[in-house]
């Protein structure tokens, strides 16, 4: 599979502490191994948790692009948190953007304090659907619990991205990188999380 436009923009979006950076690094490393030019832009900096974070993963066959996707040019959005997923598609989405979303909300302290209101998750998913070409919803946190720890939802979501058929990166390559990345950190549980995501996305129909 090759890239239709010569460039594929993937955005992984969520909340600090959800493992965005690890997820983008795994996928990007796999893409490099498959021969692509890859640029990854991260929200880093503030070590504190709870802020909105995004990783831009940009694959190209021809050249090294900058690490930021221009407005409205995301091909795929991998949403670790529903409201962040909506925020991201609002800025970077277009009619052709495909979305894979974990529906589990992470409430901000603004919401918890009552200063802001968190909308019903169904409403958020509906809004994303209005802006997207397609949205597939995967209970990634629940699957991660099955694999042994809810924190591994990021690996489940990488499994979803790898198995989605939306990218030219080979599933086996991603799997190899997962094995290398977690060689010393719960290798079996992480591999299980990846495979659960891989399997789940293939049977998840778009909303």
């Amino acid at each position: 599979m090759t890239l239709k436009e010569g460039l594929l923009n993937i955005i992984i979006t969520g909340v600090g502490g959800q493992g965005n950076v690890v997820a983008s690094q795994i996928f990007a490393s796999a893409a490099v191994r498959d021969g692509f030019y890859v640029s990854v832009g991260e929200t880093y900096g503030a070590a504190q948790r709870g802020g909105a974070v995004m990783s831009h993963v940009r694959l190209s066959e021809e050249t090294q692009y900058g690490s930021l996707t221009p407005e409205g040019r995301a091909h795929i959005i991998l949403g670790f948190e529903p409201v962040e997923c909506l925020r991201t598609i609002g800025s970077f989405g277009n009619e052709k953007t495909k979305v894979i979303a974990n529906p589990r909300p992470v409430y901000s302290i603004d919401v918890l304090s009552g200063a802001s209101k968190y909308p019903a998750v169904e409403e958020v998913l509906k809004s994303i659907k209005e802006l997207a070409y397609s949205i597939q919803v995967v209970e990634a946190t629940e699957l991660a619990k099955k694999a042994g720890d809810p924190i591994m939802q990021n690996v489940v979501m990488v499994g979803c991205l790898a198995g989605s058929g939306f990218t030219p990166v080979k599933v086996e390559t991603v799997k190899d990188i997962i094995k290398e990345t977690f060689a010393k950190r719960r290798p079996e549980a992480n591999l299980k999380a990846f495979e659960l995501g891989l399997r789940e996305i293939r049977r998840t129909k778009p909303l």
Binding site: E42, G45, A46, G50, P70, G72, V106, S113, G114
Partner: protein, 643 residues
């Protein structure tokens, strides 16, 4: 082993910009590295520290940036290859030595890497350190890609050694913290020995000697300029002899390239990409100004290239070059949300500037789509402010400070400082801190606030500092407070790590950069030696913490409270306590607390069960610290220690 260290020349790997800088140093055969952690530059030294033992070179986290530059400077004087890395504001801290060691010169390759933070994502200033290269009159390189971050760092050592002057490499957040494909070169390892003979003299001089060294520096800069004219890091692409050219550097290069491509202007526009930006390669730039009628500058933060090129254009006017119309920051075409010269650059800013100047359309998303997106975003997306992590001891410390200040009742002035606890100004720190500037400014300004009684301001001054910040910049102000009789309470939030920048060791941790054990320099020993009243307690022992703070606020003179509790992210517990809400005990809206746990306490682990109208704990986020259980007025939060 990370990709930074593998010795497989020709291999294509994914590296972070900071890792690429580290790899460049390895390929240059670096001997001696130093730095102080600071976003976005921290990972440079971290990567070097990991590689140091195997490749047999030295790395230290120094106590602050000026010490870092000085220790590396000494190594460079002896002929070793030395690198110092720091964030933009670190360049301020080391500026004193920089403005003199530029004159004294160097024998070994000596490279200063600065990481700027346009938009100030995790900094208190988006200061553009390129100005320091101009101020210090030293060569400046600006990588545009991760590949260049590696290649330029490597070359900077050769350049510095050949010219005998420190060279600067400037990166920005969007390069330092981005990842890209890098083709590796061979790792170089010639073990050098440090030499210092009785004939050696390293100084900036003073009087006539200083002027002589200053003139030698100018000669070195001229030689740098000659080399820059031929540098492979400068290139021109696009239409030959174009009327319209973009002059760009750093991340401006990929943004300009993509903007031109998206607008389909490849056959009209030329791009002059500069990697060596001070001194300006004037002949190269002049050769393109000669064919240009219009020039757009695309660069991060300050109009640095813009101003330098305009000076050159003014000189060239006498030779018949121009007139040229310039666009960029001055003309307000390259502007962020808060105007030109503020905020981070991106492709969209470059696109907008080109559409305005070239009067070409940019078909983004349909108007209907954008309006729909705007509407959905404004109706459904709540704010997401940053907060202390679940289980963070800073939350406990700020609650104690808030409470003690309230008991005291004199409206204490709390001055903040740099670290995770900078968030003490925000609701997550109960908006306790009222000032925030640079490393050490908390206690420095507290010195002033604590000495204004005769001017009618009689409020207690409470300064906050983290442990690493204490060593970095607080000690002179501590001595000053004692000497000048400033009536202040310093609260040191000691979490046994430099947490904000990714958990680097500091002088109190008993470990150095390379992981070897080192003597612990204790904060209480220093404060006692200065003559302060010192107390230490764990902020999670809330009652004791508040009582101690209150008592100290009543005492005259210099007081230091050390709140000591390890950062739970750096030192994760093997087994976390299980925390849950006994919803039968939670009085909900009926309780006088009015949802204290979620409304005020603000730990992301404390959530609200909207179905049952009761408090709840998010088990994925909760870190098991149990502080909320101590503060819940109904005693509804239960902590079960897991054994």
């Amino acid at each position: 082993m990370s990709y930074v260290e593998i010795d497989e020349p020709g291999k294509r790997v994914l590296l972070m910009g900071n890792e690429a800088v580290a790899r460049g140093a390895l390929e240059a055969g670096v001997d001696f590295c130093s730095g102080y952690p600071g976003n976005p530059a921290s990972e440079i030294l971290e990567a070097l520290a990991k590689a140091a033992k195997k490749a047999d070179f030295y790395v230290e986290w120094s106590v602050n940036e000026i010490v870092a530059l000085e220790v590396a400077g000494a190594a460079a004087f002896t002929g070793l290859r030395a690198l110092t890395a720091m964030k933009n504001l670190g360049a301020d801290v080391c500026a004193d030595f920089l403005m003199t060691t530029n004159l004294s010169g160097t024998r070994g390759g000596f490279v200063l890497v600065t990481g700027d933070d346009p938009s100030a994502h995790s900094t208190t200033s988006e200061l553009d350190t390129r100005n320091y290269a101009r101020l210090a009159e030293i060569p400046l390189l600006e990588p545009a890609t991760t590949q260049e971050a590696k290649d330029m760092t490597k070359w900077a050592f050769d350049l510095s050694q050949e010219l005998g002057v420190i060279c600067m490499v400037r990166t920005v957040t969007r390069l330092s913290h981005s990842r890209g494909v890098v083709t590796l070169g061979p790792i170089k390892r010639d073990k050098r020995s440090a030499e210092f003979s009785s004939q050696d003299m390293w100084t900036s001089g003073s009087s006539n000697i200083q002027c002589m060294f200053h003139s030698i520096l100018h000669e070195k800069l001229k030689r740098a300029q000659q080399k820059f004219e031929e540098s492979k890091f400068n290139w021109y692409v696009g239409k030959e002899n174009a009327d319209f050219i973009i002059i760009t550097s750093g991340t401006g290069w990929p943004y300009s390239f993509e903007a031109v491509k998206l607008l389909g202007l490849e056959n009209e526009v030329g791009i002059l990409k500069l990697g060596t930006t001070w001194p300006l390669p004037e002949k190269l730039v002049a050769s393109h100004l000669k064919h240009a009628k219009e020039v757009l500058f695309v660069e991060e933060t300050d109009p640095f290239l813009e101003q330098n090129v305009k000076i050159l254009a003014a000189e060239l006017a006498a030779e018949g070059v121009g007139p040229i119309t310039f666009y960029g920051k001055k003309s307000n075409h390259i502007r962020g949300e808060f105007g030109a010269g503020t905020g981070e650059l991106n492709v969209d800013i470059a696109i907008r500037a080109l559409t305005e100047v070239k009067k070409v359309p940019y078909p983004l998303r349909g108007k209907e789509y954008s309006e729909k997106a705007q509407k959905l975003l404004s109706s459904y997306v709540p704010a997401r402010s940053m907060s202390f992590c679940a289980g963070c001891p800073h939350r406990a410390s700020f609650w104690a400070i808030k409470k003690a200040a309230k008991w005291d009742g004199r409206d204490a002035i709390v001055t903040g400082d740099i670290g995770c606890y900078s968030l003490g100004m925000l609701p997550t720190g109960f908006s306790v801190a009222k000032t925030l500037h640079c490393m050490g400014a908390g206690i420095g300004t507290a010195n002033g606030f604590g000495n204004l009684k005769e001017f009618g301001l009689d409020k207690p001054a409470i300064a906050i500092a983290g442990d690493s910040t204490f060593y970095h910049a607080c000690m002179p102000a501590l001595v000053n407070a004692r000497w000048n009789g400033s009536n202040i309470l310093l609260v040191v939030l000691d979490n046994n790590t430099t947490a904000m920048t990714g958990h680097q060791p500091h002088p109190g941790t008993g470990v150095n950069a390379m992981g070897d054990s080192s003597p612990r320099v204790l904060i209480e020993d220093i404060c006692k030696a200065v003559g302060a009243e010192v107390r230490v307690c764990d902020p999670f022992d809330q009652d004791e913490a508040v009582q101690n703070l209150y008592e100290m606020l009543q005492n005259e003179g210099l007081k230091v409270m050390i709140f000591r509790h390890e950062c739970p992210l750096a030192f994760p517990k093997e087994k976390k306590a299980k925390v849950y809400v006994d919803q039968d005990k939670c009085l909900s809206e009926e309780c006088g607390c009015v949802k204290f746990c979620t409304r005020v306490f603000g730990c992301p682990g404390n959530i609200w069960d909207y179905e049952k109208g009761k408090a709840k704990i998010d088990e994925v986020i909760c870190n098991g610290c149990g502080l909320c259980a101590k503060l819940c007025p109904a005693g509804a939060i239960i902590v079960e220690e897991v054994t």
